[in-house]
Symmetry: C2
Subunit: 336 residues, 2 copies
DNA sequence: TCTATCTTTGCACACGTTTGTATTTTGCTC
DNA sequence: GAGCAAAATACAAACGTGTGCAAAGATAGA
């Protein structure tokens, strides 16, 4: 096990000062060509690697970006994580991914970790649990660039990338109404998060517009899951007035709904219309194919990264509120 | 925008030396109780956060772990990434996730990045492209703990966590044979990776054992995808001797195969038996439900992390070869 | 040869921590 | 209050790098 070679080791070996080596490695024109080549050759030979801790400590530069998401293994987030990671890599940044598991407490500790490690910037989609945004305020206070995407903190002045959840849910609801569905339920999560609040409002406003009384926005506390979807449908089916359509905020729940429907002999779309947020890898195979609301993951990743990069390079000042909205799209299939 | 508070700022404010503050923050018994409380109070008050760059530069400690995977948005890897991230978090580590996109070049650069940033340890599943393992050798040479999982470099002496690919593929093949299938094709990837080589050998050996001639291990170069699955099945179906069963190394391809089969009127399992590695979120809904080989993601994550942790704490010496094998499981369904 | 300019290198300090050692302060005993 | 041990604090060096400034060396013009 060899010890890592440093700039001083090279300097000693080549009988120059370590500052000269430093300059040589960074192609500073002030250093003579022959010494530079000697340094570079020696460095390559001995597999020299800059110690980023020293560089960052000195405050010269920092190419580390942190990414905070509720889950890594939900396709919406894993797609964005994957795209952001590639984007960052192509621009010379290094991305660290953190997972809150939807817990406020973990999110807070993660933010502290990020501050401790001097990341150059942070991209976040907040946890369902998160009610207080102080921890993100601290980030900005310390001058660390911050961009929210999808699930955002309204009260933190910083760039935000949102999806048109209100409009798209209203549109989905109206589509169901026009197809003749009257008792439309909405399976969603806590309204303390903009995403779910917007969806709920789009849903409710559209029902109101058409004078429909059956309002069933169901705020679930638990994590979206197949089991939860099953349970919710069987619960709804035991109510005095059954729903005749469902808008589901998660593919996981949607799968559960379909399984429970099949088990209970509920026919889709005849007995129950179905629209879901998100899409499945296997969506084409499933019968009936489900009408779904596709979210533009690639666009979100690109815009978010672009905003963060501009903050890092001071093109956008820290603490400036910018809101970008990207558009989701309804893919019409056979489930309603 | 406030500047970050440092240990020296606290010292100046409280009229003590910064070394005393350092000890106070780390609960060193040598520092008086009242000064310690004063320091802690002031630190909390002003949101002091340790500068990990300084700590790590000094070489005292390092709680950063790097994770290298080919893709983040494939369920096998995203599950493992998710579990490892949680595991690491619960033990006080911070995980950075890197994605190679199956490219050797990116993998090499990522390893250099990891060395530059002084990570405490690395967990890797290598890219399909990776033929040379020198870059991982460098890691060990610098004394950085390294654990391989699933896709490993055989020639790097370090702990490895593998799946019993040979046995499980042999078992799957034998199952198909006993069900009466005779022309079994195997859709897989480059044999330069242990995973795919083991599967191929398990497949071939079992065919040989039963004296079957039809051997069709198809090594695909491209990334596994739905489109590729479609193309492969239609290609196979145009051959003089059609396969009557397929073992697929990826759920993506499997979805493509099923779509193409449906389009071309190929009945599963009557005309074509099907077994796939991996499982789908929606696997229960798909008709027919596919017999699949489930890989123990949680177990892999746990064992890998455990090994790495033991290397970091010097319970396992760097450069020691340890091989653990975990068992995949065939979930029998209706597709064969 | 002297001075002026340019090129190249060296010096020293700073970034924020930790830690071994030296120094001061406190508390105790007689 | 002197003496001494124990407790608390201060000092200094180190980790590896980057950079402003000084110094030395080279070149050129007169």
């Amino acid at each position: 096990m060899k010890k890592r070679i440093t700039i001083k080791d090279i300097a000693k070996e080549l009988n120059v000062h370590h500052s000269t080596v430093s300059r040589a490695l960074r192609n500073d024109p002030r250093v003579n060509e022959v010494t530079r080549d000697a340094v570079l050759a020696y460095a390559r030979e001995h597999e020299y690697q800059t110690n980023m801790n020293a560089v960052q400590l000195r405050g010269t530069s920092n190419n580390a970006i942190a990414l905070i998401v509720p889950n890594i293994n939900h396709s919406f987030f894993s797609d964005i994580v994957s795209k952001l990671t590639n984007l960052a890599y192509s621009k010379g940044y290094v991305i660290s991914v953190f997972q809150t598991n939807e817990k406020y407490q973990q999110e807070k500790e993660i933010v502290n970790t990020i501050i401790r490690h001097n990341f150059a910037g942070v991209i976040v989609s907040i946890a369902k649990d998160t009610v207080n945004s102080d921890h993100f305020g601290v980030l900005s206070k310390f001058g660390i660039p911050l961009v929210f995407f999808d699930r955002i903190c309204e009260d933190v002045p910083t760039p935000k990338v949102k999806i048109n959840n209100y409009e798209i849910t209203a549109k989905a609801t109206e589509y169901l109404i026009k197809k003749g569905y009257r008792n439309i339920a909405h399976l969603t999560a806590t309204t303390s998060i903009n995403v779910f609040r917007d969806r709920e409002n789009g849903y409710l406003d559209m029902l109101k517009k058409y004078g429909l009384e059956y309002q069933q926005p169901i705020m679930v506390q638990d994590d979206f899951s197949i089991e939860l979807g099953k349970k919710l449908l069987s619960g709804l089916w035991n109510m005095p007035v059954k729903p005749d359509a469902i808008i589901s905020s998660s593919v996981h729940m949607t799968v559960g709904i379909m399984l429970e429907a099949r088990k209970s002999g509920i026919r889709i779309p005849e007995d129950l219309g179905l629209i879901t947020f998100g899409s499945l890898l296997s969506s084409e195979i499933i019968e009936p194919q489900v009408t779904c609301i596709e979210q533009p993951e690639a666009e979100i990743a690109e815009i978010s990264f672009d905003l963060l990069e501009k903050m890092i390079s001071h093109e956008i000042e820290i603490g400036k509120s910018i809101e970008k909205t990207v558009e989701a799209e309804i893919i019409f299939k056979k489930s309603c």
